[in-house]
């Protein structure tokens, strides 16, 4: 790949999706975009860049979707779900006893493994949630992965990574060689297409936000910006769950780490008033994203 093409793609991905590739990620672009180029009848990355320059919005969308990492599996990393069962839910059951409703947002819902893992956790709680309204909103940049999430159909390999066998038996049915999550669990999850760089205030306010393994692809300013807006989308006593390689430390003071629970954060009451006017917390200045 020639340097001008790489620079063009880096700039496009940064502007349109926030994906922040360092200067040495040519291999990543080639491995993700060459299959798309060939599927589109293009000979190589240069031809793909030429097509992008013609400005076809749907092709820009395809390029961004191909570059967005969707690797995920049920109960990925395990620990966040232990936190969910052992720390988050017990506290919310007490704190929300009057209103009996809990809203959860999976901000990088991908192909559904995370939101459905949360849904299965809630189902396991059974009687404790009787009479409660629980809402799980799964968003993702990619419409293609959201469609997969909505269908809830997974290969044998996918259901074996992280999903305890008892949960498979309880919550899935076999469809030939594949496994589909039961309709009652699917119905617990709402799907919306969303770019985290864009305004998400229309989603409302949540008690828990899972935003795992997506911020690692953004630069520092974008992360700070997103944290500022996440703080406005979370209840003052809510919980933010980040990926194992992610942190708020050094980026923002609107969230603080939850003691002895790695990856778990809460809004910082001391900066609550500041959250209404976080410097730089407005929308990032990015190009309009046709089709996204």
């Amino acid at each position: 790949m020639n340097p001008p093409d790489y620079e063009y793609l880096r700039r496009l991905l940064k502007d349109q999706s926030g994906l922040d590739l360092s200067v040495d990620k040519q291999y990543l672009i080639e491995s993700r975009l060459l299959p798309l180029a060939r599927k589109s009848g293009l000979s190589d990355i240069s031809a793909l860049v030429q097509k992008l320059k013609t400005g076809a919005p749907s092709f820009v969308t395809q390029v961004i979707e191909a570059m967005t990492t969707n690797e995920t599996f049920f109960f990925r990393d395990k620990i966040p779900f232990d936190h969910f069962r052992e720390s988050i839910m017990p506290e919310l059951l007490r704190a929300r006893a009057a209103r009996k409703s809990i809203r959860i947002w999976c901000a990088a819902g991908s192909t559904g493994q995370e939101p459905y893992s949360i849904a299965m956790c809630l189902r396991e709680m059974g009687a404790a949630l009787a009479g409660w309204r629980t809402e799980i909103v799964a968003t993702d940049l990619s419409q293609e992965v959201l469609e997969k999430s909505k269908a809830g159909i997974y290969s044998q390999f996918e259901v074996q990574r992280g999903l305890p066998i008892q949960m498979l038996v309880k919550n899935f049915k076999q469809v030939g060689e594949l496994w589909q999550i039961n309709a009652d669990v699917r119905a617990m999850v709402q799907h919306r297409q969303l770019n985290l760089l864009h305004d998400f205030s229309q989603l409302g306010v949540f008690d828990v936000i899972f935003c795992r393994n997506v911020l690692i692809y953004f630069d520092q300013d974008t992360k700070t910006n997103i944290f500022g807006r996440l703080a406005k989308a979370i209840e003052p006593d809510g919980f933010l769950v980040l990926g194992a390689a992610e942190t708020v430390v050094g980026l923002t003071d609107v969230f603080k780490p939850f003691p002895e629970r790695r990856g778990l954060y809460r809004p910082d009451a001391r900066s609550a008033s500041a959250r209404t006017s976080v410097p730089g917390a407005g929308m990032p200045k990015i190009a309009a994203m046709a089709g996204l």
Binding site: I79, I165, Q166, K173
Partner: protein
């Protein structure tokens, strides 16, 4: 070092499982069928058993029933690893006392995930 008994009538499957489990720091004992496996357990109860279903002499399901009746036979974590991939077989295995279930084909990631699930290995994310 903890021991894992690998029970499968296929030498190839035993070899692949051995390689994966040795990387996970298990000492491996092999058995070709349920009878050999039961004898191995009478000699020494392992910490883990990776168990095929369809085998000559004594199948995995029958072996599991016999194992759980042995003194100390309730302690090993038993992970079925079989081509019997339908929900009825899985339910039968769980009712018989299996701790986890792997549907063949498998890879290192799946074995590792299932062994984590039953507490045989620690998640790399654990602190």
């Amino acid at each position: 070092m903890r021991t894992c008994l690998v029970v499968d009538d296929s030498a190839v499957v035993r070899k692949i499982a051995r390689r994966i489990l040795e990387e996970m720091d298990f000492q491996i004992v092999e058995a070709e069928d349920g009878e050999q496996a039961l004898q191995a357990c009478k000699n020494a109860i392992p910490e883990a058993i990776l168990l095929d279903w369809n085998m000559p002499n004594m199948d995995g399901y029958e072996f599991l029933g016999n194992l759980r009746r042995l003194p100390g036979g309730d302690t090993p974590k038993v992970v079925f690893c079989t081509t019997e991939n339908d929900i009825d077989h899985i339910s039968r295995a769980l009712a018989a006392g299996a701790n986890e279930y792997i549907m063949k084909p498998f890879d290192k990631e799946i074995i590792s995930a299932k062994f984590q699930e039953v507490g045989l290995v620690t998640s790399p994310e654990a602190v």
